[in-house]
Symmetry: C3
């Protein structure tokens, strides 16, 4: 039995095989690979795109999905030995074991709560399910977002072919609220695994991603003869890029602070992806996971331009997730 929790658990060759299958599934969407299989989609945070693409994908493969909306309503205890007289009505030990008797696979979205990163970086809810469940688990976004990684890679490969040696600029962008770092962590992991040279552009050292992901990215890059560097200089970071990937994320050192103290400065709006910056690149493609605030993170001209991959990447979620489902429980 195997899980899909992070691409770090899958070799480059295995990732390539998933992408190859995703392309086959795009060409021939429907089959009986999941006939008789039931999947629980457990959302501790809202979702529309992920929910739709999983539900459609499972149906395309002949399986059954059940959506469990735990957003805000199902506090789950994860500590072993806890005396449960607080908010949590159920322990993950029971939730995971019972769901495992009903379904053949559990997919989970559980964002960090941005209260205590030292605990949240251990991905406690996902780890709890992995510990107690007896069926495969898919990560639908926690502190990484491996399904988005595959979708990004599939979109980049369709445009760039072999990604080895290509330059990807991963740029932080302004957003009115501090967001999850998962997609940024994941873009770094996915790009380096395929041998891309990654430039991480962010306003200052305070905006750095967790060192465990930086270290993993550097290791993956090194194994492919590629590199990871950090820049706080916008022009420098865009110059020579083959691909620009944009995402906003909150400062890890501000997690736990009241939200009003964590708002980023208006001055940081200058990180918006626009045509001037893109003109510095090697006619780079542009992408961003969705949803995306237009004219805040990227201008309409970039988003709607010929090198924008955002819709392709979003579409690919459907295809790559079907490949992952097939790999884990398909027949």
């Amino acid at each position: 039995m195997r899980h899909f929790l992070t691409t770090e658990d899958w070799t480059k060759q295995e990732i390539e095989a998933l992408l190859e299958d995703a392309r086959a599934l795009k060409a021939a969407p429907q089959s009986g690979r999941l006939r008789g299989k039931r999947c629980a989609l457990l959302f501790f945070n809202p979702s529309l795109r992920t929910r739709t693409s999983f539900q459609v994908g499972i149906a395309d493969l002949g399986g059954t999905s059940v959506v469990l909306d735990a957003a805000g309503t199902w506090p789950l205890e994860v500590e072993p030995g806890a005396i449960m007289d607080g908010e949590a009505e159920e322990h993950v030990a029971e939730a995971a074991r019972v769901l495992s008797t009903y379904v053949d696979l559990i997919a989970i979205r559980a964002f960090p709560k941005f209260e205590d990163w030292s605990r949240e970086r251990e991905d406690p809810i996902l780890a709890g399910f992995v510990k107690h469940a007896t069926v495969p688990i898919i990560n639908m976004e926690t502190i990484v977002h491996p399904c988005q990684e595959l979708a990004m890679l599939m979109a980049l490969q369709a445009r760039h072919g072999d990604l080895a040696g290509k330059n990807l600029t991963l740029t932080w962008t302004y957003h009115p609220k501090p967001l999850n770092t998962a997609v940024a962590n994941s873009a770094l992991l996915a790009a380096t695994k395929m041998g891309m040279n990654v430039t991480l552009l962010c306003p200052s050292a305070e905006y750095m991603l967790d060192e465990k992901f930086m270290e993993a990215g550097r290791g993956l890059a090194a194994a492919e003869g590629a590199s990871v560097r950090v820049s706080h200089d916008i022009e420098d970071a865009y110059r020579g890029a083959d691909a620009v990937y944009a995402k906003s994320w909150g400062r890890l050192d501000q997690i736990g602070l009241p939200m009003e103290e964590r708002l980023t400065s208006d001055d940081l709006r200058r990180f918006i992806v626009d045509e001037d910056k893109m003109a510095l690149t090697n006619i780079a493609t542009f992408s961003h996971c969705l949803p995306m605030r237009r004219n805040v993170k990227a201008t309409d001209a970039v988003v709607d331009g010929p090198n924008s991959l955002i819709i392709d990447e979003a579409e690919n979620r459907l295809h790559v997730q079907k490949a992952v489902l097939s790999a884990l429980i398909g027949s």
Copy 2:
């Protein structure tokens, strides 16, 4: 590719064909017409009846449905060029294009917010999806409710046969809160399209429907040699009616006012449909879309009487929607 946004886009003959197919689907509910087809049901407002009838209907035809509950949780930007630093996390341009890659049809419920009728009467969310989506769209109630129109017509035809020349009284009724005008607009459009003479009964000129629907209704009636008239006199409006259709709606001139200033007068409770009023008619049938407040909009005696079509009309939602789905994406 064709949408089902309003019956105004469909000829009388096309509407008759949909109704004919709905009757066939009532007799033989299950088939494979939608095999391999996926439909997204996007609700910006709550629904139980519409959701159930669409989900069951799609399953009956062998298709897959995904329910997306956007009620209150997914503010969508619709303005081109907007700088999205407010509430909206996503632009309809992306929502519509991405959903179009996952599904074969999008059905949308998006009531006006009753904040600014001059904008809301343009049906901005539905229009945004029509502009950007690349798959057919069904209107599940915005400022009109064309699925309800078909259900109403199917129920009326089953009882009255050919509707041409029959008299329909569309009566406003009291309700503790100002409601959407969609069903009233739609009842007017549907009845006039089939050549019914429509009497619109409401307390005063302030309760008139939007002139664009009045004008459309008059045009449709004229084309069939029928008429539209407005009355504020209850006895006059009921006299000679073959069918009474009841609905409450809020005053358009009060949209945007605080809710407490918009409440209608208790004196208007006299518009309730009761046996005394029905006795003035030509043994008229009675209907109302559901839900319906008993003994506020109509008395139990009328609702449970032999000429009440409310359950038939509600049931017909299932059959007519299957006909529409078949017409748009069926094989």
Copy 3:
């Protein structure tokens, strides 16, 4: 046409037949027994386990399910003749009749509101649906929880074989909030129907279950030559037990009081199921419906011990509900 509202409506032999079929369905989960059948799952209260097991079970049998989440959003009028100018937008007469035209079966969860037990003990929402619906109805927990009863019996039979003459201790446990009595009522009904001697353990007379369930339990027990007794003495109640079933419930005499006045005393935490108490028994099995607060209702050592049936019982929900669905609408 037959409903599954309470096991009181089903004979011991019929219950045995359902359990026999549940074991067959556990061995061979998938079939076409519900092909072409549609089921509405109507939740006036949240659910994850019940929802999942019903959705998966219906899919396993080839049927279609529609989940209707009425939790907090759909106040339904149940009084005949009501003038509906309050909160309720719809009468159960319409809700039940319309759903009956869309689906082949309606399953309902509707907890009492704990406002007025004299009314709530009549199960008004379920009774309203039974009165007006024209399709079979399944109780997914109201003031009893018959699906949980079957799951409990199936788990007990797997471990104990014939249950007649075995001793079951049904123990109240502490919980920070007053809970529904449904599962306790149901455990009493199910165990006595199978001829178990039931000892009801609770802190004092104020914690007694409704006399109508006590009386029903005594009658069922008498018919099988078994007994029901009440104890407020923990050691006495555990001694000689073959099975311990734990559940917390609120005092009926405090229903309607402000929540803060209804909280039980910390002193009552002593009712926790622990190894010392279990050591008094005849190596009893332990069970509890889920969710369950660990180390408040039962200690980890008991919950994770070799005689704990909680996961088996939860799994059985899937199998027994499929048997009930088959009995009501299967082909």
